[in-house]
Each structure stands twice: as structure tokens, then as C-alpha cells.
């Protein structure tokens, strides 16, 4: 009896206070400027067009390509299966589920690298993981994947291999066709894709 009274006198006022104050919606976990600078210096956010092309060809289900350009530009041309999150809308709560998650491998792209990099910096600063930037952007993508420059016949083997992979990827993605064997080449020269370890979830119970 007495214990209940003590509990009630303590917890009801606290409940009243907590009901009256506005909810704290800030996210205290953020990267410091130094930590972010360190990541920018090492360039961990970049992923090369070859890696992305390979993931597209392998139909990697974890790949999520995100176009951060405006909706107009997205309508004119976009990478296959990409979604459009214009940079100006990146903080819109509708997109948070896409950006703050630990399953998909998000790749931002814009025409160059600038907008995509800004999108990455904003999301990284919020502590989101698994977001990457397409190195060189669409311009470099078109240059390397859609219209790769043929190496000279005297070039080293790996140059020719790389060219064949790009040509194959370009073909698979609707570029110009040439006489190569894209499927075998794509397999034999698969670039290393490092995936982040998923966080283990803690489960509780009685």
C-alpha cells in the first residue's frame, strides 16, 4: 500500500512533465567535422562505374541506385532501376527509410560528382550508412560504360579485359553492341565488392 503511494507520488509528476514537454526529435548521433573530413580524405564513399555496372549485370538485389538530380533531368535520362531523390529534397522524411537503412547498397549519382557527393555528406553527417557516390558521375559513366574507348591491339591484356567488360556492360544497359562475350568477361573480372557486415540485433525477452 505504502509502496504504491510512494511510486505514485514520484512517477505521476514525472509523467506530467514528460507529457508537457515537447518531444526531443534531434538525432544526437552525428559525425564530428573531423571524422567526416577523415572519410572525405580517404574517399571511402566512392564506388567505381565498373563495380556498379557489374552489380547491375549480376542483378544484385542489394543495389539501390539513387539519382540526386532534378526530376526533369531524371525523366530525360536515368540509369536502369534508379530512383529519383532530388538533392533539395534529401531531408524530406519520406526518403529517410531509403537513406537510413542497413540492407541496401545505395549509390548516389549526379551529372558530375558534386551533387552526389553533397547528398552523401549530408546523409553521412546524420550517421546514415551504406550510402556511396558513383565516381565521376553520369558523365564518366557514359564515357566509360556506354562508349568505352577501344584500346590498341598492343595494349596489355587487362586493358582489353576491362574494355570488354565495359562494352558488355554497355550492351546489357542498352549501349552500342560489339562482338564481345560480355557474360563470361563480366564473371572473370568481377571487381571486389566489399559489403558491410550487418549489425546484429539484440533481442530481449522475459
Amino acid at each position: 500500500m505504502k509502496a504504491r503511494l510512494v511510486l505514485a507520488t514520484l512517477i505521476i509528476p514525472m509523467g506530467l512533465i514528460i507529457a508537457a514537454v515537447p518531444e526531443n526529435t534531434t538525432r544526437p548521433y552525428k559525425l564530428t567535422a573531423e571524422e567526416l573530413l577523415e572519410e572525405v580524405k580517404t574517399g571511402t564513399q566512392f564506388i567505381y562505374p565498373d563495380q556498379v555496372a557489374d552489380m547491375i549485370i549480376q542483378k544484385d538485389p542489394t543495389l539501390q541506385i539513387i539519382d540526386v538530380r532534378s526530376a526533369d533531368e531524371y525523366d530525360k535520362f536515368s540509369l536502369p532501376n534508379s530512383i529519383n531523390i532530388p538533392l533539395v529534397n534529401i531531408l524530406n522524411p519520406d526518403w529517410e527509410d531509403y537513406l537510413d537503412q542497413d540492407i541496401k547498397f545505395n549509390v548516389f549519382y549526379s551529372n558530375g560528382t558534386k551533387d552526389a557527393n553533397e547528398a552523401w555528406m549530408i546523409t553521412r553527417q546524420l550517421g546514415f550508412e551504406n550510402n556511396y557516390v558513383l565516381q565521376g558521375g553520369l558523365n564518366y559513366w557514359v564515357e566509360t560504360i556506354m562508349n568505352p574507348e577501344a584500346p590498341k591491339s598492343t595494349s596489355p591484356n587487362d586493358e582489353i579485359l576491362k574494355y570488354n567488360l565495359r562494352k558488355g556492360a554497355g550492351m546489357a544497359l542498352g549501349g552500342a553492341a560489339v562482338n564481345t562475350q560480355p557474360s563470361t568477361m563480366a564473371k572473370s573480372s568481377k571487381p571486389p565488392i566489399t559489403k558491410r557486415k550487418k549489425k546484429k540485433k539484440v533481442q530481449g525477452g522475459c
Binding site: 504504491r4 512517477i11 514525472m14 506530467l16 514528460i18 507529457a19 518531444e23 548521433y29 525477452g205
Partner: protein, 201 residues
């Protein structure tokens, strides 16, 4: 001030160590509240002892108020707290099975270990039954896999469903809990048993 513990700062092993300490604390609280007595636990269902309800609801409202205050002071990031996802049908089915086992055996999984550690043989039998259940579940998993994964609701939160703020909902829960304690103590008198003295250990 940042959150108390950021996920990636402490290693998995340090995490386990903290879990171990918290586990000892949990077991201690169970034991001093007499949760290793199956009569006390079963009393919840017959109404002659509602300690289980009081202890767990006190824990819930104290934790809720504590977390909201910590969030208010920026000590903890509520969005990084893991909420067990809800699979509606398996939650209901599991609840029924667990409740039936609870009445029959007189323990819940945690308290059975608590009671076994002070040497109660019925708790050992209960733990044996639990492992048989685990064995049946895992070996027969393909049979109930669909049921197990049906009706996935994500991690719904009551305050979102009701459209109220967390604070208001917590206040509401506090009032509901205190009301239930009152009802609980009424049933303890109403359904009191001659052979059972309250607060026996």
C-alpha cells in the same frame, strides 16, 4: 552530450559483458521479488498474488519515463533503440502457448532459470520441457514457417497508432498501471487463499 553508448564504439564482446551484468541484475530483481516461487507466478492467473503485474508494470513505466527524460537531455538517441518487429499471428500464437505453459508449469522462461539456480526441481523439469519445445519448433520449422512469418507489421509503436506524443502516452500508461495495481490489490484480498501468505519467499 552525446548518447550514452554508440553502437559501434563498444565491441561485441564488451556488449556481451554489459549484457551479463544486466542479466545478473535482472536475475537479482526476480529473486528478491520472489519470482522463483511458482505459486507466486501462478497467483497472477488466479488473482491471489499480483506481484508479477506490479513488478513488470513498474519496470515498464519507470523505464519509459527514464528513457524519455534521457532523450530530452540528449543522453540517448531513441531512434537507435531496437524495437522487436511484430509478426502478428506468431505473436498471438506464441502468447497463447507461453500463457498455457506459464499456468501449467508455474514459471516463465526467465524465472524458471531463476528458480533452478536456487535448486528447485520443478524448475529443472520446466527447463527440460522448454528445450523439448525448442527442439520441436526448430525441427518442425518448415511446417509452421508460413505462420511464423505471416502478417509482418514492422515495428509499430503505440503512440504512432494513437497519434499522440510519446509523453502523453506514457502518462496515460502510468495512470493505467497505477489503476491496475489498485485492482490487483483488490483481487489479492478477494481471492486470498488460506494456504498462501502474501510476500512469502
Amino acid at each position: 552530450m552525446g548518447p550514452l553508448i554508440v553502437y559501434d564504439i563498444i565491441s561485441d564482446n564488451a556488449n556481451l559483458f554489459f549484457a551479463f551484468l544486466i542479466g545478473i541484475g535482472f536475475g537479482f530483481v526476480l529473486e528478491i521479488n520472489g519470482f522463483s516461487s511458482s505459486r507466486r507466478l501462478a497467483g497472477m492467473f488466479y488473482g491471489y498474488d499480483t506481484t508479477v503485474l506490479k513488478v513488470f508494470f513498474t519496470a515498464a513505466i519507470v523505464a519509459a519515463v527514464g528513457l524519455l527524460f534521457m532523450s530530452l537531455f540528449n543522453w540517448i538517441d531513441l531512434s537507435s533503440i531496437y524495437i522487436n518487429p511484430t509478426f502478428l499471428w506468431s505473436s498471438l500464437g506464441g502468447g497463447v502457448i507461453m500463457g498455457a505453459g506459464f499456468i501449467l508449469g508455474g514459471y516463465c522462461p526467465g524465472t524458471s532459470f531463476c528458480a533452478a539456480s536456487i535448486g528447485k526441481l520443478d524448475a529443472l523439469a520446466f527447463i527440460g520441457g522448454m528445450f523439448i519445445g525448442i527442439f520441436i519448433f526448430t525441427e518442425g520449422y518448415p511446417l509452421w514457417e508460413d505462420f511464423y512469418n505471416a502478417k509482418y507489421l514492422g515495428s509499430p509503436v503505440l503512440s504512432d497508432l494513437l497519434g499522440s506524443s510519446r509523453g502523453v502516452l506514457t502518462l496515460l500508461m502510468i495512470l493505467v498501471a497505477l489503476g491496475m495495481f489498485w485492482v490487483g490489490e483488490w483481487t489479492e484480498k478477494r481471492f486470498a487463499r488460506d494456504d498462501y501468505k502474501l510476500n512469502q519467499k
